[in-house]
């Protein structure tokens, strides 16, 4: 990873949604900025590879949601388990900072983190796991949390799920169990307001907050894209999850900038403009100026190098 650079940022001009302005309260570290831009560059490179016909299968980019795993990164330790989902590249990169291993997995090349067997949405490395069936990870995360609770190791299970995944019954079975048994289960909801092609209003009655309340589970809502602000708001909750222990739901209001997978975005221009308007990227760019552009240049170059290197590798091998 590039060297962390921390610098104070000028306070932003007060805006309609001041909480949404990054860097207002605190600095953006170089490490954070690099990571944000690594993820963005990585996802863009993937979409490019797809449109060039150089990738097969499918993939789901996290464009617009990069700040969520970056914000949570310092709050989650090596002992914690992370359960990611189909839209998991940002989660993986925030945990391991390993674009080559991930890209090799997606391209089925040597050095693939799962030997090319899992592909984009089935990754397992240490205490990180993603899988492609929506909702499955919630009870699994509860099981891992039960293990942590009994071992008393202070670890937790963090499960990333989307808004649409609240359609699955397994989510509720797990929330009920986690609260009954007071398990250290941190549910991170990335609410981008859409599931594949279906807007939240068409797939979810009521609210995510209401879902948590139904089970008496502690809930916190995050609207900000400011990493420090998110961290200071969420850190006490994460601590409580570990120490009490207890479950919690943290819902991030976020946006999906790109298609669901590839070339399958049927949203109208107003919906897309709404998403772009809430993207962290232009705000960070505006506030950080040259520093942003330099960092982005570095990460784009890094990703381009990674693509070149990985594409040149031989196919992954797997001894089943």
């Amino acid at each position: 990873m590039s060297e962390p650079v921390t610098a104070d940022l000028p306070r932003a001009v007060p805006a309609a949604r001041p909480a949404d302005q990054p860097g207002e309260r605190t600095a953006v570290s170089g490490e954070d900025l690099d990571l944000l831009l690594l993820i963005r560059s990585f996802e863009q490179a993937l979409l490019d590879l797809f449109s060039e016909g150089r990738l097969n299968g499918t993939t789901h980019s996290c464009l617009g949601q990069e700040h969520i795993p970056v914000a949570l990164r310092p709050l989650l330790g090596d002992a914690d388990h992370i359960f990611s989902n189909h839209r998991g590249h940002g989660h993986y990169l925030a945990r391991f900072g390993d674009p080559a291993g991930l890209l090799a997995e997606i391209m089925g090349r040597e050095g693939a983190v799962c030997n090319g067997v899992g592909g984009s949405q089935h990754i397992h490395r240490g205490r990180y796991l993603s899988t492609g069936v929506q909702g499955e990870s919630m009870p699994v995360g509860a099981g891992v949390a039960l293990h942590h609770k009994r071992s008393g190791d202070g670890g937790l299970a963090a499960v990333f799920i989307g808004d649409g995944t609240f359609g699955e019954g397994a989510v509720y079975e797990a929330l009920n169990l986690a609260q009954l048994w007071q398990l250290p289960l941190l549910v991170v909801v990335e609410n981008n307001g859409i599931a594949q092609s279906t807007p939240a209003s068409v797939h979810t009655a009521g609210t995510i907050a209401g879902r948590a309340a139904a089970f008496g589970v502690t809930y916190h809502h995050v609207d900000s894209v400011d990493l420090s602000e998110i961290r200071s708001a969420v850190a006490p909750l994460v601590r409580a999850v570990r120490e009490t222990p207890m479950p919690a739901v943290v819902e991030f209001s976020t946006v999906r900038l790109g298609p669901h997978s590839k070339g399958d975005d049927t949203r109208d221009s107003a919906a897309l403009a709404f998403a772009q308007d809430r993207d962290w990227y232009p705000r960070y760019r505006r506030l950080l100026g040259d520093r942003f552009d330099h960092a982005e240049g570095r990460q784009q170059a890094r990703v381009a190098d990674t693509v070149r290197a990985v594409a040149a590798r031989p196919p992954a091998r797997w001894d089943a």
């Binding site: 097969n56 299968g57 499918t58 391209m107 089925g108 693939a112 030997n115 090319g116 067997v117 899992g118 592909g119 984009s120 949405q121 089935h122 899988t131 492609g132 069936v133 929506q134 909702g135 649409g164 995944t165 609240f166 359609g167 699955e168 019954g169 599931a195 594949q196 092609s197 279906t198 068409v202 797939h203 979810t204 399958d264 049927t266 196919p315 992954a316 797997w318 089943a320």
Partner: protein, 338 residues
């Protein structure tokens, strides 16, 4: 001759016709509404044409199947789409213990016409949880019939036939078929021909030149049919072996009768399917054939299925695991010592 329509178009048209002629028909599933029209575009245009009866649902496979069961119970005729057949396990209970069981467990017949559409199969690089063939797990549930999409069977006929049974059914659709063309008028391509020997149109028979006599027959569901007849074409060219490929529309209950004349005299019966090995559909068909044809069988029935393995994502690894045309070709050669 103008090019025939794609399989996806044929299926879409069949669903449209069903909705059009029968007000009791619903189509439900995740993201099936316009403009998206479903993950594989099978339902494109239908929600626009039939508002209120073609409904995008939340991501709730169990509830979707349950709602279908409720509609059927109330006299409607729902069709549901499970976006990937791999997720059919999420509605296993609703199909096993409610929809199928309701037909007979109340001591009198309760009609439960409903179709569960499941896109299945691999060779698209979608990975271990999006590429499977779960057909075999649903065999032998009383009052649940299983069907498979094929490029030889017109879906308008198939859907009618299923609905008219008045019992729940699963239609498995090999995803690689959607972009293929339907075959019409008994012609596939080159010297490859097909007909429907049984009269009721359930079994299609593909052959090169003329159907009999056959050194071997391959029984293969729709998803594998093309790979099977490619193997047959290669077997003729390379080894001068003549064979037939028999493709059922309905997988289960197995309807062997129309098949028996064709298979009785064959030197080899090979049953091929893309599902992974163990407890396969082929095992069920083979057992029935052993019972019926014991005296005539020249050698053991040869089952071909994918490896006992998860289905990897990377194409070069996926290919190794899944049944390909060469897998069938090699199996026939091996069994016939060719």
């Amino acid at each position: 001759m103008p090019e025939s329509e794609r399989v996806v178009t044929n299926l879409n048209r069949a669903l449209g016709a069903l909705l059009d002629k029968d007000q009791r028909v619903y189509v439900l599933g995740e993201d099936i509404g316009d403009p998206y029209g479903g993950a594989f575009k099978v339902t494109r245009g239908l929600s626009t044409r039939f508002p209120g009866r073609v409904l995008s649902t939340p991501i709730s496979e169990s509830a979707i199947a349950g709602v279908a069961g409720g509609l059927a119970l109330a006299g409607d005729r729902p069709v549901i789409e499970v976006m990937f057949g791999d997720f059919a396990g999420l509605c296993f209970d609703q199909l096993y213990n409610f929809a199928a069981k309701s037909v007979s467990m109340y001591g009198h017949r309760v009609p439960m016409p409903m179709i569960v559409r499941c896109p299945v199969g691999g060779n698209r690089g979608y990975g271990p949880t999006h590429s499977q063939n779960p057909q075999k797990h649903f065999i032998g549930i009383p009052n649940l019939s299983l069907w498979e999409l094929s490029p030889l069977h017109d879906n308008a006929v198939v859907l009618d036939r299923i609905m008219d049974r008045g019992e729940p059914a699963i239609l498995f659709e090999d995803k690689t078929l959607y972009s293929r063309r339907m075959h019409r008028d008994g012609v596939i391509s080159g010297p490859l021909r097909f007909d429907f020997p049984g009269g009721d149109g359930n079994w299609a028979r593909v052959y090169v030149g003329r159907p009999d006599p056959a050194d071997y027959v391959i029984i293969a569901p729709g998803g594998l049919a093309e790979r099977a007849w490619q193997a047959a074409a290669d077997l003729l060219v390379e080894h001068e072996l003549t064979g037939q490929v028999l493709v059922p529309s309905r997988l289960y209950p197995v309807d062997l009768e129309p098949l028996l004349p064709a298979v009785r005299d064959a030197g080899l019966i090979c049953i091929a399917e893309e599902g992974v090995t163990g407890g396969t559909w082929g095992a069920e068909v083979a057992n029935q054939l052993y019972g019926r044809l014991w005296a005539d069988l020249k050698r053991p029935i040869r089952l071909v299925s994918s490896a006992d393995s998860v289905i990897p994502t990377a194409p070069h690894l996926e290919r190794e695991v899944l049944v390909q045309s060469e897998t069938i070709y090699r199996a026939v050669c091996e069994a016939l010592d060719a």
